[in-house]
Subunit: 113 residues, 2 copies
DNA sequence: TCCTTGTCTCGACAGCCATCGAATCAACAC
DNA sequence: GTGTTGATTCGATGGCTGTCGAGACAAGGA
């Protein structure tokens, strides 16, 4: 079971945000890395750009930031390892898309239904 | 204008999450520190504990973690500086409460209306 | 006044992280 | 094969951060 699946299922089970029931130690350990990944302005913008479209090519992300391609890849990897996005190579290009369940899990935690 | 007020107003103006419109550079700079503050398991649990009640005494938070009082204070300060909580001393004790607008701003960003 | 208790601040330190440039890899065109 | 372009990985570095313990501060009681 991936982190994402666990987080999604958990939020579905608890069905309420932290404003009603405090998160368990285990949930905190699973969800905190997702918040952490969004805790950098560059990555927050990246995630936002990716979420605003069905999928997005790295070649469209890179020119939006004045950063080296190495740093861009590093941030995308961080978002991927947090379970917030996934990617696929198609020919020369790599495309990223959002994992909506991950966003939903975080959102559910912040705002009780 | 505080960070919190700015974030709250912004989310009210845009009224949609990052799944529909990418956040601006300025919004990202304002909101990322809030996500970052929630990006530590200890702070996420703390915020959750505080959010689950109208207000919470530090003396109730401290025993929930196996950490020194210095570290507890440090994390609470981080949450406060991020605009997620506020506090007040009443006699010997200090009480913390959540800033619901801050959570709402983050939630609005994650989940379009 | 002195002592106790709750909380915060300070100084220090080990570990993590954002960034860069260089090197490497993948796919394609020639 | 050779070269080119897109993307990732690697190594290094300066800065940030989570943690502790000790000290300082605030409030109240003996």
């Amino acid at each position: 079971m991936t982190i994402l699946e666990a987080a999604t299922r958990e939020s579905a089970v608890t069905c309420c945000g932290m404003a009603t029931t405090p998160v368990t130690e285990e949930d905190a350990a699973r969800l905190a890395p997702m918040f952490k990944a969004l805790g950098d302005p560059v990555r927050l913008r990246m995630a936002s750009m990716i979420a605003a479209r069905p999928e997005l090519c790295v070649c469209e992300i890179t020119p939006a930031f004045e950063l080296s391609s190495g740093t861009i890849s590093h941030h995308l990897k961080t978002l991927r390892e947090a379970g917030l996005v996934d990617c696929e190579r198609r020919g020369t290009f790599v495309y990223y898309w959002i994992q909506p369940e991950a966003l939903a899990a975080l959102s559910a935690l912040l705002a009780p239904t």
